[in-house]
Symmetry: C2
Subunit: 362 residues, 2 copies
């Protein structure tokens, strides 16, 4: 995966800003869980957190607003609430200052992010942008008190090498995801585990002892096969649109063979295992929720726009042209319309995993 892969920038009709209402539902649905986790689990009497000033918070994989601003505001309110509740018991202490670090790939549209920040008068924090992949170090040692990542950790750092290797049993010819192929699924799962190990080890360096790592990750129930989930079926439909276009000579079939979505939906069991293998964090909480009940007849055009906002850059780079974008996502919307059964309630086996991790003492 090159560093250049990011959600669509700007605030036009195909921007992430205008096509991220589902991600917004995750932020809203998670609000009470985040508040609860901070109230219960952020031990501000802990020596490394006690009187920490400023409190430093990072949003990892923030993309462009507004969702990240809402998420950061929720966290700050929760921390302030916690400080205020302590003041009732103890001699008053002055509320800390906050510094919020918005992180995403260097190719993320930080210009739009910065211009759309809440105005400094009405904002309780000092803002900074941090460019770079969260699959690596981003911050100095022991300088973060709370790190948050919402709907970002299902992006892999790269497509697993085996799935684009013609000589590998995991070669994923004619498909763009692991739907229905166990060897391909295993390659994705192994990549996910490597990525999580790198992610957690980097955060372990950056987060102070007692600091929190709050994760919101799309996942699916333990033991569920990808072929049984609506999301995987949708990726199957998307792949078939690319194959249709290849057959019509609009793109090369070889290019479709070598294109794969660097996305992986983990399970609670697998996530727990990754965290325990890494060993630097305690799992304080792990909950599962579905942010919204999908309507019986989904708006396929909006769904297509959401995927487009996320992967247009990836497609353009892989196929070396942006001329296919309009047609591809129109076809995708149409194909969903023709296959509405994939939205059936029996295939809704995915949810969001909320995990509250605490950095162990060194």
């Amino acid at each position: 995966m090159p560093e250049t892969f990011s959600m669509n920038g700007g605030d036009g009709p195909h921007s992430y800003t205008k096509n991220s209402c589902y991600q917004r539902e995750v932020v809203d649905a998670a609000k009470d869980m985040i508040i609860g986790a901070i109230a219960e689990k952020l031990d501000i009497e802990n020596p490394t957190l006690n009187c920490s000033n400023p409190i430093r918070i990072a949003d990892l994989g923030c993309s462009v607003g507004p969702n990240t601003f809402i998420a950061m505001q929720n966290i700050i309110e929760a921390v302030e609430h916690k400080y205020q509740s302590l003041q009732l018991q103890n001699p008053p202490r002055s509320s800390p200052e906050f510094q919020v670090f918005f992180n995403d790939h260097a190719s993320n549209d930080f210009n739009t992010l910065f211009i759309s920040l809440p105005p400094s008068g009405g904002r309780q924090y000092f803002a900074a942008g941090v460019p770079g992949s969260f699959h690596g170090r981003l911050f100095p040692r022991a300088t973060l008190h709370i790190a948050h990542s919402s709907y970002a950790l299902h992006w892999l750092s790269m497509v697993p090498e085996e799935v684009v290797d013609r000589n590998s049993p995991a070669w994923n010819k004619g498909k763009v995801h692991y739907t229905g192929n166990e060897t391909v699924l295993e390659a994705y799962s192994a990549q996910y585990k490597r990525d999580m190990e790198v992610f957690l080890s980097a955060r372990a360096q950056e987060i102070v002892s007692g600091g929190l790592l709050l994760l919101l990750i799309p996942g699916c129930h333990d033991g569920v096969l990808p072929s049984e989930t609506g999301t995987s079926m949708l990726f199957g439909l998307f792949g078939s649109c690319l194959m249709d276009m290849a057959k019509m000579g609009m793109i090369s079939e070889e290019k479709v063979d070598s294109f794969n979505l660097p996305l992986y939906h983990t399970s609670p069991h697998e996530l727990k295992e990754s965290i325990e293998t890494n060993g630097y964090f305690n799992i304080e909480r792990m909950d599962f929720f579905t942010p919204h009940t999908p309507p019986d007849s989904p708006d396929c055009e909006i769904l297509a726009l959401h995927l487009r906002a996320a992967i247009e850059g990836l497609i353009t780079e892989h196929f070396g042209t942006d001329q296919i974008i309009e047609e591809l996502f129109e076809r995708y919307a149409k194909k969903m319309e023709e296959n509405l059964f994939v939205f059936d309630v029996k295939y809704r086996k995915e949810f969001v995993i909320f995990a509250c991790l605490k950095r162990k003492n060194n």
Copy 2:
């Protein structure tokens, strides 16, 4: 001054990146002074600096690279050198980590800045961008160890109100700067003093006791009148180009009357006075230098491109169109060609002021 005013972004032919070689000369010429100031004046045995980890450095008004990267690298090398020299005397201590904050207006092209950062492997610091005006708070209390600002503090936070007020004796009709008008000059000087007070008070909150504020500011000798300096004459020529275009009906004369450059060249005496009035910093060093000897026949086109990279956004916003830009800066280059006497050595009364300030103990 709106927040939208920034140097030209991107890396095209009119970008700041491609038209800032004069500013680069300042960075290069200041290198030894910066190294010397850090070697002598950064007291890393001071309790608030001792074992500080990470060392936090900010570049205030950084614009787009590459100059800011070079300046930050110079500072980091100087700090590392200082640590290494101490290791020879004392039991070895591990070198600190560095976090560098690149600051400019929210409208600055941070996307280009982030993409052109030295790759993380070859870079000794964690990078962050901080959007916002340095005429106000940008960082939490006492979190910076070294703040640096090169060729940025001559930009005022706004054009002084009196100079665009028809009823004021300082109304600057038909001109764009304070050349030759004492009342206008006084209004600019008063604005500069207000801005410096706000700047220094904000930095006093953000910089730790014993921390350094390193300033490189274009200025002119004490007692020199603007009408005696080449730079002021150049602004006079630039203003006359706008007036010529107004007389030809290409822009409104009223718009020219209300346009003024938010630029001010201070003097060592005035700068000292501002710092002493503010009272939070000791002046550890103040030096003056001319970064380069201008050639006898300057390249007027390059000079025009430099001004364009800096104020194109300002002009476009004020006149409500970018249609006049090409013509305006072509005329300006031509007018300089016709008035080469302004480059005469006798009008070279400007230099760069280097000031090393240290935050007093609270």
